[in-house]
């Protein structure tokens, strides 16, 4: 822990400086902080300068924090105050306004535009692109001048060019290399970008190098190596940046390209740290903000006393928006030997998408024209790890997929510019944060306020929370106790990592709940966490606490699982023995081809289960119940498919899963349908050459013939389609919404589109969550009594309290 009152001096008040201050304030560190910035304004959103130049944003919208913020958090801010020297030994700074002693110092001095040694680069009208003043100067020129030359066809140069183009200038981009943005883009993407830019009226010259800049006092023309002369009223040099290390170098710190730092952002001088574009970590300096925010976070933790925080560089990607063309690129976009490439291009449509993978992990990406997949791709790139479905990652078939942002992890950084995670955005949306619009999210978190590239994800998250334009306007709340629509609740629950009903009620509800929402929440937590939730029996109906069906007299019924209705003499004998030993009230063959032992006392349940030695049939709960079967090809002269075998396999595959309402299934060996499967929640009929799957049949309070979902060739395919359909139902239906209500509500076409006809990626996702849920399912008859015998105790016979 830091002693209170020690002084932290921060040199530079740019984007990353603010990022550090933000975190220090949040961590409630006890430093007395002084910040020195040589720009006249408090730190502003440098990334937004492009939009200001293009006229898409007002300059007074740029400040990241107003002066009140600094004051109210006890941060002493000195603007327009240059730090002239650092004395690392004496721990002292010399500033334009006097000396300052510090206990710790942070260098966040950013970088300066790199100006190549071109004759004439010092002429009036030759500018860099780094500060508000630069933009003001460019705008000044644009008002009177006609032509501009931008030297450098990298990210910054193209931003400058499009801004000046938007201001009515004739703009030529001169680039040294034969490909625009060569550091980020491969040939294909760069070519497409160039075409689009030229269509917009930009002139692109490459490869071309500048011999000199000419003019009498102020710039008049740019002369290229071949001798060509480009008239210019304005020249913007965007030839790269160089880390601003002057202060550190003069102080004798170890300096390479940047100020060298270790994993803890410590420089070679004790008590001096460096972050941001001025820092060099492991031989690398960074020019885009996502890793720099990370550096700020690491240093903030260090300064707040967490010595374990270390900087681990992540692959990063950048987005460039050039009037209508969206470009997003990062990592290595030109594959090396041994890399694999996934390429999707639509020349007419101006879309180009490329992934570069190594050992199944994403190492590079270039997207042009359609940034739909950006959030997911960016996440995959930073996270590393195996990419399971490459096409899905590229958004192939994304039209039927969930809104952007749905699949992101909570700690995935959505807004790279401001270092805002999905969880932070989700927190700003809904009950606590109260945001229902992107503008509000931007105000609250700054996400989407800088480069704007994450706006679709923010919209997606709003939509998921039931707020966005595409959301159903009147999605009902889960309950008056938990006043959120289900989709929004899901977001919050996953975002906040709530795994038990009581946590959900405490954080998002009235803290109490009722008999309606608590079982519902119990179910939702199970399915949303794929079984990795925390079970709270107190929120369950008694049936689910003791895993048996309560009877009118308070005793319970026991229906063991008899898969497909197929039993054996030994099993029947065991059932008979148990029935006699525990003197059960009745033994009955049920409508679903099972055997019911009725009238069992609660305290006898664990012993009955143990002695039966059979798994729970879940007849007492909303879960996968029974798969009825007929005798099929094994015995029946009409059978065309082995329905008994498939029924047993289907039941084994699904058993143990909880569902919104009970789920009853059937498999029958021919269209005579002796197992009555067309009136089941899910039924399978063997036909010549294959199997038909029906969903949403009913023959209870309602009678309804099931809808044909699909016809498949093999039992394996039937099992897969069934698993996908069941998982989709589990995830999408309201609690207590039976299949025969759910499917007609959404429409069989939509149900089919989301299951049978879903993208490979979506199907795989469903199957994966299905398997995870299955893996986490425990047979309650074996696991629960053992872990919790006290629930099954006999009533307590009372004795009077002994006299004290």
């Amino acid at each position: 822990m830091t002693a209170p009152g020690k002084r932290l001096a921060v040199v530079g008040n740019g984007m990353i400086s603010v990022s550090l201050l933000d975190q220090l304030v949040r961590l409630e560190s006890r430093w007395r902080i002084s910040v020195f910035g040589d720009e006249p304004h408090p730190a502003y959103d440098r990334i937004g300068l492009s939009q200001v130049l293009a006229g898409d944003r007002a300059a007074d919208d740029l400040p990241l924090r107003d002066r009140d913020w600094y004051a109210s958090h006890g941060v002493e801010l000195h603007t327009g105050c240059r730090v002239l020297a650092l004395d690392a030994e004496r721990c002292r700074l010399a500033t334009a306004r006097g000396d300052v002693d510090f206990d710790a110092c942070v260098l966040a001095t950013g970088s300066l535009p790199f100006v190549p040694p071109i004759p004439g680069a010092g002429l009036d009208g030759v500018l860099g692109f780094r500060t508000i003043e630069d933009v003001d100067a460019m705008l000044e020129r644009a008002r009177t001048g006609r032509s501009a030359v931008v030297i450098g066809g990298g990210l910054l140069g193209l931003e400058a060019a499009r801004g000046l183009l938007a201001r009515g200038m004739q703009v030529t981009v001169v680039h040294l290399v034969d490909r625009l943005m060569e550091r980020q883009l491969d040939d294909g993407a760069a070519g497409l970008v160039r075409e689009e830019l030229e269509r917009m009226g930009l002139r692109v010259l490459l490869p071309a190098s500048t011999r000199r800049i000419e003019g009498e006092g102020r710039v008049e023309a740019v002369v290229l190596d071949g001798g060509a002369v480009l008239p210019a009223d304005l020249v913007v040099i965007c030839a790269g940046i160089k880390p601003n290390v002057a202060l550190a170098a003069a102080a004798g710190l170890d300096v390479g390209r940047g100020v060298r730092v270790d994993d803890r952002m410590a420089t070679s001088a004790p008590a001096v740290h460096a972050i941001g574009e001025c820092a060099e970590h492991d031989g690398v300096t960074y020019g885009l903000v996502p890793p720099l925010h990370e550096q700020a976070a690491v240093l903030a933790s260090q300064l707040a006393g967490d010595g374990a925080a270390t900087f681990r560089p992540l692959a990063t990607a950048a987005r460039l928006k050039v009037a209508g063309i969206d470009v997003f690129a990062g990592g290595r976009t030109t594959p090396e030997a041994g890399d694999q490439e996934v390429l999707l291009r639509d020349d007419g449509g101006g879309v180009y998408k490329k992934l570069v993978l190594r050992d199944d992990a994403l190492v590079g990406v270039a997207l042009v024209g359609d940034l739909g997949p950006m959030a997911a791709v960016s996440d995959a790139l930073t996270r590393g790890g195996r990419v399971r479905d490459r096409l899905a990652l590229l958004g192939v078939g994304a039209a039927v997929g969930p809104p952007p942002g749905a699949d992101l992890a909570d700690d995935a950084v959505v807004c790279g510019c401001n270092g805002v995670t999905r969880a932070a955005i989700v927190a700003a949306i809904g009950a606590e944060g109260g945001c229902t619009t992107r503008e509000c999210v931007a105000r609250r978190t700054r996400a989407s306020s800088s480069c704007g590239s994450c706006a679709p994800v923010v919209d997606g998250l709003l939509q998921l929370a039931g707020m966005g334009r595409a959301a159903a306007p009147d999605a009902p709340d889960v309950c008056t106790c938990v006043p959120l629509p289900r989709a929004a609740l899901r977001e919050r629950v996953l975002g906040l990592g709530l795994r038990s009903v009581s946590e959900v009620l405490e954080r998002l509800g009235d803290g109490v709940g009722c008999h309606r929402c608590r079982p519902a929440l119990s179910y939702y937590l199970d399915v949303w966490w794929c079984g990795e939730h925390r079970e709270e029996p107190a929120s369950r109906h008694v049936n689910d606490r003791v895993h048996a069906n309560i009877q009118r007299d308070g005793t319970f019924s026991v229906v063991p699982r008899i898969r497909g209705g197929v039993t054996s003499p030994a099993e029947l004998r065991r059932i008979a023995d148990v029935a006699e030993r525990y003197q059960v009230g009745a033994v009955k063959i049920t409508g679903g081809q099972r055997i019911d032992l009725l009238g069992v006392r609660k305290e006898d349940l664990p012993a009955v289960w143990t002695e039966l030695g059979m798994p729970s049939g879940h007849a007492y709960t909303k879960a996968v119940r029974t798969v009825k079967s007929c005798v099929g090809t094994d015995w029946c002269r009409y059978g065309v498919g082995d329905s008994t075998d498939l029924a047993v396999r289907l039941e084994s595959a699904l058993e143990g899963l909880y569902t919104p309402h009970k789920l009853k299934l059937g498999v029958t060996g021919c269209p005579r349908n002796c197992a009555e499967v067309t009136v089941k929640d899910l039924g399978i009929v063997a036909v010549v050459g294959g199997w038909e799957l029906y969903v949403a049949g009913a023959a209870g309070m309602t009678v309804r013939k099931g809808d044909l979902l699909c016809t498949v060739a093999t039992p394996e395919q039937a099992l897969e389609e069934a698993a996908i359909a069941v998982q989709h139902y589990r995830e999408q239906a309201e609690y207590l919404e039976r299949m025969y209500h759910f499917v007609p509500r959404v429409g069989i076409e939509a149900f089919r589109a989301a299951t049978v006809d879903a993208t490979a990626g979506a199907r795989r996702g469903l199957l994966e969550r299905f398997r995870r849920s299955r893996d986490n399912a425990r047979d309650p008859w074996r696991s629960v009594p053992a872990s919790d015998p006290s629930r099954f105790r006999a009533p307590l016979a009372l004795a009077e309290e002994p006299a004290p």
């Binding site: 008999h515 029996p537 008694v542 629930r791 009533p795 307590l796 009372l798």
Partner: protein, 97 residues
């Protein structure tokens, strides 16, 4: 009659059935402290100890009528269940039945 039930014998949030002669009492450890009521639902005899407890109410597991643990009032029902004073003392719930 005053009786004492060891706290360990009752699971918070889940009722416990006590039998004293012909009397059946449902004991709950709610967030607001221990509560004891007659265990038999006046509607159709449902076992109230097996209901879901939310705040100071228990919901009968058979037909979901709610019973107020402080007043004994039952949803849609003129009849009330009896409530018994209960408090925690020395690791026990002490009840006056």
């Amino acid at each position: 009659m005053r009786v004492a039930v060891p706290l360990d014998d009752v699971r918070p949030g889940e009722g416990r059935l006590l039998v004293a002669g012909r009397r059946r009492v449902a004991l709950f450890l709610t967030t607001g402290g221990p509560r004891a009521i007659d265990a038999t639902c006046p509607h159709a005899g449902g076992p109230l100890q097996d209901g879901i407890v939310s705040g100071a109410r228990v919901t009968c597991p058979l037909h979901l009528r709610r019973v107020d643990l402080d007043t004994g009032e039952v949803d849609d029902c003129a009849e009330r269940v009896r409530c018994y004073p209960a408090r925690v003392a020395g690791g026990h719930v002490v009840l006056d039945l």
